[in-house]
Amino acid sequence: MELAMTMTDGPTGLTQTVDPEPQPPAGGREACRLAAEASQPGVDPCDVACEAMPGHCCGDLTTADEVWLRKHTAVCSYCANMLHSYEKVDSVLERLQDALTPVGAPPAWKPERERRRAGYARLDSPIGPLLVAATEQGVCEIGFAFREAEDAFRQRLVERGFAPVHDESVVQRVGPQLQEYFSGKRDRFDLPLDLSGVSPFTRSVLTATAEVPFGHLTTYREIAERTGRPSATRAVGNALGRNPIPVIVPCHRVVRSDGSLGGYTGGLWIKERLLSIEGRAPR
C-alpha cells in the first residue's frame, strides 16, 4: 500500500507528489531521509520501510525517520508485522544476552611474574591475631585471623592482583607501630600503604577516611560528601566494609549520623575496642 502517491497530470507529464506527512523544514536537520526515499518515482515505500527496520533496532534512525516508519506501519499491516518480528528478534537478543552473562566475577588476570609480591605474616594484638600483608609499596591488607583462614586471606590478595608469600619480616616492618597504637602510644601511622587492586570509588572512600584524625569521629554521610557523592551513604558503608587495611585506615572512626555505631566487618566489638583505645567511649 503506497502512501506517497505520484499522479501524472496528463500528457504534459507534470507530476504532483502527495505526501501525507508534513513537509520537513527546508534545510532542517531533521529532514526525513525515509520520506525522501519513499517519494522517489518507482520506489515502493514498503521496501524503504523494511530496509530501515534493522536500523530501527539499533537506534540508528533519526526522530523524523522513526516517525515516518511508525506512520507507515500504522497503515500497512505487512510492514507492521515485519516490524513486530524485528522487535521480537530484539527481545530475544536481550534474553540471550542475559543468558550469556558469565556467573561470578572476572578471574584474576595478572600472570604470576607480573603480580606484585605481597609478604604476609601473623601478628598478635589486643584485638586478636591479625594477618598483615605488605608489598614493596606498603601495607596492603590486614585481616582478622580469628575470622578468616589464611587461605581466604591469601585469596583476597590474589584477587587484588598480588602474589602472596609468607614473610616474617612483615612483623618487624609493621608490628612495632601497631603495638604502639594499641597501647595508646601512637596516634598516627607512619607507614606507606598500597591500595592497588581497589576500585576508584573505594579508594576515594578510604582516602577520605584516612584523613579522620585519631580520637575523632565522622559519619558515613560526611565521607560520602567528601567523595563528591553526598547521597551514597550505603555505598560508603559497603566500601568501608571492604576496607582492606582496617585499623590503619580508620574505618572504625566512621559512625552513623544518628549516633549509632554502624557496622564493622571484623565484628562490632572491635570497633568499640578501637574507639575506646582512642578515648571515645562506646555509645
Binding site: P54, C57, L96, F189, D190
Partner: protein
C-alpha cells in the same frame, strides 16, 4: 603501573592529596570495565575456559600498552579493540583460516516446524546463539559489539578494520538474517 604518580600515598600525605586531579591508573580502568570486557570475551569465545584465556591475554596486552596511551584516550573503546584483535589473532593462530570477509554461513538446516520445540524458550535461545555463532565473523562481531555492548559504528569500524558504513551494514545484515530465520517463530 600508573601514568603519573607511581607511589600510593602514605597515610600522612593523604591530607595533602588534591581531590580535583584524577589520574587514572590501569587498575582504575580495569575496575571500571572488567565486567563488560569479560562478558564480551565470553560472548566471543562461547565457553568459560577460552573466555578466561581471552580475557587474560587481553588484559596483559592492555597492561603493557597502557603507558603509551594518551591519558585522554577512550579507554573503553581501546579495551574492546584489544579484545577483538586478540580474539581474531588467536583464531588465526589456531588455524581457523576464515578471515572477516569470508562467508561461512551456518550449515544448520532450517528446523522442522515443531511447535513444541518453538515454544521451548531455552532451546530456542540455544538455537539463536548457535545461529549467531555461524554467521560470517564480521557480522557476528558487529552484532555483538552493537547490540550487546553499544559500541559506536566508529569504534566497530576500528575493531573490524572497515568503514563505518560497512560496520553498520554488517550489523543490519545480521539482524536481517536473524529475522528471516527466527522472526516468524518468536
Amino acid at each position: 603501573m600508573t601514568q603519573a604518580l607511581a607511589a600510593q600515598p602514605t597515610v600522612d600525605l593523604v591530607g595533602r592529596a588534591c581531590p580535583d586531579i584524577v589520574v587514572l591508573t590501569f587498575d582504575d580502568i580495569l575496575a571500571r570495565h572488567q565486567g563488560e570486557i569479560y562478558r564480551y570475551a565470553f560472548q566471543l569465545a562461547r565457553n568459560r575456559a577460552d573466555a578466561d584465556d581471552l580475557y587474560q591475554e587481553t588484559l596483559i596486552k592492555a597492561y603493557r600498552a597502557f603507558p603509551r596511551l594518551d591519558s585522554n584516550a577512550n579507554h573503553r573503546a581501546w579495551l574492546y579493540k584489544i579484545a577483538t584483535n586478540t580474539f581474531l589473532s588467536d583464531r588465526r593462530k589456531r588455524g581457523r583460516e576464515d578471515v572477516l570477509d569470508e562467508v561461512t554461513e551456518a550449515t544448520m538446516p532450517a528446523p522442522a516446524l515443531d511447535h513444541a520445540a518453538a515454544l521451548d524458550a531455552r532451546a530456542l535461545l540455544a538455537e539463536v546463539e548457535a545461529f549467531i555463532a555461524g554467521l560470517p565473523l564480521k557480522q557476528r562481531l558487529a552484532l555483538i559489539q552493537r547490540k550487546y555492548h553499544e559500541l559506536s559504528y566508529a569504534d566497530i569500524a576500528t575493531n573490524l578494520k572497515c568503514s563505518q558504513d560497512a560496520a553498520r551494514a554488517s550489523v543490519h545484515e545480521a539482524l536481517r538474517k536473524l529475522r528471516d530465520r527466527f522472526g516468524d517463530r518468536l
